[in-house]
């Protein structure tokens, strides 16, 4: 059952637009440079980045918990809400620590936003029952918060945020406090719930696999600025910078000499698909994902090297091959292939999987 089945016209939320939102704190530290971002109605956007990259600050600006520096604007459906306090923005927020009220039981927590809005007791308890069912916490309605497990708290926090039918749902690292197995399971549940609700959602995380699963689009952030915006596939296959390439998934980033449309490496040559900037000559940075490199017979191979280390991961094995580039590269090899350290091997790479990256000081 969809919690929005009652046909609320606000059910799918608002479009969010950020214009030049920067944030400098009172002590002078700049947490966020001027950032502009559009989130479409009903879309789930994930803000992804290492700690201190400004992603939480950006979320708090959308929420109304921080005001952007002068010149920055936050718009909900083209209405400027920059000076509207959080309590009037009709957002739903899930905090990293959940911020559940210890003085109220589970049902009272979920129903608090409705109580504030003056919703009648009967309507409130119907809505609470609906959300308790959706989030799978039946039977816990009258538990105190300190009697709940981490996963249960997370669900209560989510139910509470969604209960008020917010214009935009904001989640600040909601799974970080949980252990790995639970995190995986809840990630799937959260994905299903967000798709069912279809509400505009901004989700902050530092976990790239969470971002991949949940995001319609991912905003990769670094040092208070947006490094790249795109679908999970864009970000993974076509990173525009070394930072994004290294932050998302495993990547081999090697320096190569570029001339005449070919990349010259110590272990052979590669031809990137579609070539690249003809004016580009000299040293370039190349990214190749470990899983896009295949093992081939040594004779006639594009690249040659030898196995330096091997680790069996289960569903595959990861080999570190030296001799191909200036530094050893990672290659994912099917788990059925028998390799041993020191083996001389040939490698081939699909031209479309070779990405040139703009040079950037690392």
């Amino acid at each position: 059952m969809s919690p929005e089945s009652s046909g609320n016209s606000n059910g799918h939320g608002v479009a969010v637009r950020l214009e030049n939102c920067a944030k400098t704190f009172a002590d002078g530290t700049q947490a966020l440079g001027p950032v502009s971002l559009d989130v479409a109605r009903g879309e789930t956007v994930v803000l992804l980045g290492p700690s201190g990259c400004g992603k939480t600050t950006l979320l708090r600006i959308i929420a109304g918990l921080e005001t952007p520096d002068a010149g920055g604007r936050v718009l909900f459906n083209r209405t400027d809400v920059s000076s509207v306090p959080i309590e009037r923005r009709n957002v739903g927020m899930v905090f990293q620590s959940y911020a559940l009220f210890p003085n109220m039981d589970v049902a009272e927590n979920i129903g608090y936003g409705l109580k504030i809005r003056g919703v009648s007791r009967a309507e409130r308890s119907a809505r609470v029952a609906e959300l308790v069912a959706v989030t799978g916490i039946e039977g816990l309605e009258h538990r105190r918060i300190d009697q709940l497990s981490g996963g249960q708290r997370q669900r209560v926090a989510l139910a509470r945020a969604v209960a008020v039918r917010p214009s935009v749902l904001l989640l600040d690292e909601p799974l970080t406090a949980l252990d790995a197995a639970l995190r995986d399971r809840l990630r799937g549940e959260l994905d299903r719930l967000l798709r069912t609700l279809g509400i505009t959602t901004v989700y902050v995380t530092h976990d790239q696999s969470e971002a991949m699963v949940l995001g319609d689009r991912i905003v990769v952030m670094r040092k208070g600025a947006i490094a790249q915006v795109g679908t999970p596939r864009d970000i993974y296959f076509a990173p525009t910078s070394r930072f994004v390439a290294e932050f998302i998934g495993a990547a081999n980033i090697v320096e190569a000499a570029y001339s005449g449309g070919s990349l010259l490496l110590p272990g052979g040559t590669l031809a990137p698909a579609g070539g690249c900037d003809a004016t580009l000559n000299g040293r370039v940075l190349v990214m190749i994902r470990p899983e896009s490199i295949r093992l081939v017979p040594v004779d006639g191979a594009e690249l040659r090297g030898h196995v330096e280390t091997l680790s069996f991961v289960g569903d595959r094995q990861r080999a570190v091959i030296s001799g191909v580039a200036a530094k050893p590269i990672m290659v994912d090899v099917p788990n059925s292939v028998a390799l041993k350290i020191g083996d001389r091997i040939g490698l081939t790479v699909d031209p479309s999987a070779v990405r040139l990256l703009p040079g950037e000081p690392s």
Binding site: A26, G92, A99, P102, I116, V164
Partner: protein, 266 residues
Amino acid sequence: MRDRLTFAAQLVFTILVAAFLIVPAALSMLAGVTVNYFRGIQSGLTLQWVTQVWELYSDTIFRSFLIALATLVVTLIVGIPAAYALHLRNDRLSRAIEEVITLPLAIPGLALALALLLTYGGFSDFRRSWLFILAGHAVFTLPFMVRSVMAVFGAIDVKTLDEGAASLGAWPWRRFRDVIVPNAAPGILAGSLMVVTLSLGEFNLTWMLHTPLTKTLPVGLADSYASMRLEVASAYTLVFFVMIVPLLVAMQVFARYRGGPTALPR
């Protein structure tokens, strides 16, 4: 064998120290129900001194409770919002304000009273009423309320709770009423007990601020020591004890309870 000796020595030492502190109090209270202190307990036991204290000083007892409760009301109304604001801001200014609030603890009560007299002594109606003493008590006890409420705010993540309530649409007053105060209850209770106890027993300040018509219990006690026979003064001590001890016990019981459920799992 050696362990038992050590234990016995420790026990004896503890009993001696405790006795050193308790015997005088017990003797004093006993004197309050003795017919003639100088003839000792064999002169017989009586409640006549207690009755006399009640006749002479019952107004000071009622006044002390009135002032203690009024002080509590003032410190609750001023102290809890102050603690909330100071905790949320937590910048240099708020820390300076916290220091200023705490200052009356370091200043002798007499100096504090003198300052109040110099400043407000000219307003003779105010000067003559019990409200003047209330002002002194409020200044003196406020830091205890603010500190104990702030301690709880520090233990629970009050800023995030506040933001959580705000995200659900609650205005500052609703947040304060629905979320902040209920979750700060342990600190508020501890602070309240401390404020009431301190106000009931306060002498320094009150002695300077009182008029013959606005004596409080401790001031009356000093008065009776100075001008009454020893048995009456002792009976007064007894009355004071009977009133203050339940409060102290409540504080102890509460301090034990406090370690438990107030800490929030993060």
